[in-house]
Amino acid sequence: MDRDETGLAKADTVEMSGAEMVIRALKDQGVKHIFGYPGGAVLPIYDALFAEEGIVHVLCRHEQGAAHAAEGYARSTGKPGVVLVTSGPGATNVVTGLTDALMDSIPLVVITGQVATHLIGTDAFQEADTIGITRACTKHNWLVKDVDDLARTLHEAFQIATTGRPGPVVVDIPKDVQFKRGPYIGPQTVKHRTYRPKTDPDLGAIVRAIDLMANAKRPLFYTGGGIINAGPEASKLLRELVAATGFPVTSTLMGLGAFPASAPEWLGLVGMHGTYEANHAMHDCDVMICLGARFDDRVTGKIDLFSPDSKKIHLDIDPAQINKNVHVDVPIVADAAKALKEMLHFWKTQKRKVDGVALADWWTQIDHWRAKKSLSFRNSSKIIKPQYAVDRLYELTRGRDAYITTEVGQHQMWAAQRFKFEEPNRWMTSGGLGTMGYGLPAAVGVQMAHPDALVIDIAGEASVQMTMQEMSTAVQYDLPIKIFILNNEYMGMVRQWQQLLHGGRYSHSYSQALPDFVKLAEAYGGAGFRATTPDELDAKIMEMIDVKKPVLFDCRVDPNENCYPMIPSGKAHNEMILCDAEETAEVSDEGKMLV
């Protein structure tokens, strides 16, 4: 058979247009849903999509919404999210979503149209330097100037987005390349020239890690989004490793659900708004086993006071995370599932035992911290406390097939503290970038992937207005997402910081005008609910759950409630403030500099 220089049989290649190649490549990659918005520079691809039945296109109302929807889709399924947008403003509007996905390691393949190759650099209509703009907010990106490179590039894009540390990629395709015809090659023939992520752990490091674990007096698992990204197997292995050792477990915001919140070893969320027990355990532990987390500043607090007496094991698939913020004693660069499997294997075959006496003392200490009940709050019979609203939402949706997304701010932290997740991929939130407006479109993406599930966006009234237009998308595709707005009329977290750090000068954090969310829901074609007192809350939540339409739920909560516990800026894990404490925590000038 006739073969070209790549060894590929020429008979295997099919000739088609660039636009057709895009659709064919998506299908060959197993893509079922894409999120997008048409425009001049992607018209040929939309034309190829017109009669296509194998791919469902979700028309979002703004490209940022499309990107967050794809993130929600990806995070809840473990599959890549795919976005298709036009050149210029289409591309610039996805930048927030790309940065969000980069920070939180979400696999996205974003296809952008570009002006024709001969117009690039001429300031043509809707031209933007998409590759230049997105270079810093993608794992990798490509401008495809030759149709012969298109199929290979698209397959490489999927490989890079989904393997190693997942992340967003952009493939920028000029309009003339979409029209030109060229040879299509399938995914199996594509092998990248340089990209080889390391996924197998060094067994020497695994043995050093379990040595530390077996000799630990005050051990702690600190787990993160890496466990979720490594797939359900990693969560299962984590549970087995905890069962084998009896060590306590805490998690970052991104890692919630990898370990069940109902398990006795669970200490709750760690970090700035983490529990008293989780943060004190981080501070006092002698062996920290960090699995798929990255010692983010929201977790560590003041870095030079962070867990001063512990030996640290750090498992991460990204070698650049090792020793980035915190020096570690045993680095393990690997896929979390593969590394956990080896840790369990060596722990069992080498018949390792924990120091039972020391561990019992450690649990006694932890129980002492737990007795502080750091998530407690003063409830009210007159006004809905936001914590109470989240608790009721959790209780009334318990046992259902529920997925939770959030916006960013106080409501997000209350959700993370109080909603108890038992399984991975059930919790979608913007962690690293802290993107207000993430939750509503993310819920659209989650509901597309799980049409029969109960998908709830725990939202704030400020965040949700940033991407409110996606309600229209939810109505168009019959997606019964529930947008549960904790409406305190403030940008609550901004207000809280202004109270604690800026002398109560609430500079521009109050929304003097707000829409009537019930009427707004109805205007979009959804359903609206409002709860203003605690005694009507349960019935309204039940009504919300039963409605088979997109819902805006206006839950009017105490406007002055603060989110506690809290590690003030520039403080250590053992310097938390609790809800009953003096609210004028002294923060140093250095602390005020921190975000």
């Binding site: 230049g132 270079r135 990798h140 401008l143 020239r193 340089t194 070698p319 650049a320 020793n323 980035k324």
Partner: protein, 173 residues
């Protein structure tokens, strides 16, 4: 120079990066340095293997040992990067730089400039009655010294290539 230079454990390192010679690869490397706040003291780049389509970038940078470790790790993370070698820590390397140095003047100063250029084994590549252009190759320190000596003798312009580096012995990077 930045305030970081006052900190005692700031080290200067020469790092070689072998990359696929694809569009925008230099922008990725430079963007990584500027985006993460690392220093670039010099940078050279050129294709080194036309058939294999690879280029070699040599960066001279400075930072604490932790920052240098991060720079290497972040460079390795870039998709088109084949390999990263730190000539300052990983391997004994040879560093060379070339400079073109223009000196204008007449009389004693002109004679002195020429005399010093002979000591430094610089070549004269252009001359007029009132100027020389010297070509000098050597370690960056040697070029610094040469330029400093030319300053009082009528130095008017300097163009430096930045550092190229390679390991001693038979091995490739």
């Amino acid at each position: 120079m930045s305030a970081a230079h006052k900190t005692p454990n700031i080290e200067r390192h020469t790092i070689a990066v072998l990359v696929d010679n694809e569009a925008g690869v230099l922008a990725r490397i430079i963007g990584l340095f500027s985006g993460r706040g690392y220093n670039i003291e010099s940078l050279t780049v050129a294709e080194v293997d036309h058939a294999a389509h690879t280029s070699r970038v040599t960066v001279v940078t400075s930072g604490t040992p932790d920052v240098i470790e991060q720079i290497e790790a972040q460079l390795r993370r870039l998709v088109p990067v084949h390999g990263v070698t730190n000539w300052t820590t990983a391997a004994p390397g040879i560093e060379r730089e070339m400079a073109l140095v223009k000196v204008a003047g007449t009389g004693d100063k002109r004679a002195e400039a020429m005399r010093i250029s002979e000591i430094f084994r610089a070549h004269i590549v252009d001359t007029t009655h009132t100027s020389f252009v010297f070509e000098i190759t050597g370690a960056p320190d040697k070029i610094d010294n040469f330029v400093d000596l030319m300053r009082p003798l009528g130095l008017v312009d300097v163009s430096r290539t930045g550092v190229a580096a390679i390991s001693r012995g038979p091995e490739a990077m």
